[in-house]
Symmetry: C2
Subunit: 132 residues, 2 copies
Amino acid sequence: MYRSPNTLWFRMPTEKCDSCPPNCCDMRGMLSFMILWLLSKKSMYGQELAKEIGKRKGTKPNPGTIYPALKELKNRGLIESNKKGRMTTYQITEEGRKGFQIADEYFFRAFGEIFQDHNLIKTSRKLGCLES
Amino acid sequence: MYRSPNTLWFRMPTEKCDSCPPNCCDMRGMLSFMILWLLSKKSMYGQELAKEIGKRKGTKPNPGTIYPALKELKNRGLIESNKKGRMTTYQITEEGRKGFQIADEYFFRAFGEIFQDHNLIKTSRKLGCLES
DNA sequence: CTTTACCTATTGCATGTCCAATATATTGGT
DNA sequence: ACCAATATATTGGACATGCAATAGGTAAAG
């Protein structure tokens, strides 16, 4: 697997990284944000969460990534867990919903413009009027 | 200034953080991504970049944050710098544009849904049909 | 009842992010 | 010429992120 040596940049999903220019790929953070977002939609167990995150980030997070994050969120009262047999379902708390909303506002304020740009470019490409 | 002790979460801008629940606020990463995005729009000098980032993130990055990031991007050939007097203008390279585009695709794939959710909620709130 | 598979969980480590403090250089005002 | 303001830049450190490796518990299959 390609791994940029010292990076301030996104780490792309492994499969896609072959065509990726060197020194261009790292991404940290946002894991708990995504977990809370997923749990705000429905309760899930750990592996289900990992799979959903993997679908979006391109790589499924390791156990050593996902479970400490869940533990931390639980310690803060943002999520709850419910063990039955070998499965543990995680669900968001009211506190967690509040927290997510605040973080979401912040995320949007910080990166919303970039997304709008992205959509603009995509749309104009679709319409074939990229020159404008 | 409030600072959550051990956080997997967003760090909110200082001014807004008073009403922010404890242990709910950290954000790392994405700095270079935002720099490249800004420079893809127009060339800027360091303090101008810092100011623009501050507008979006809520806190203006320190010199010790912004200049190492610029140096790293330059080392990778994603940006170029041009010193005149005490000012140094930074501009994106062709390589940088390519790199940004790849990262942008990735970012959108990973977080696009969250933004669409955000917009949906905002719109329905504006229309007063939040119950749907 | 053993084997296999799978979910959950912990530990240790490498690395990136970002701030505080500090230093240097250039410009403008007096 | 001197001082203040401002831009650029470096260093050191604190801390969060996330992976690899490892281990234990539960359930299903043979």
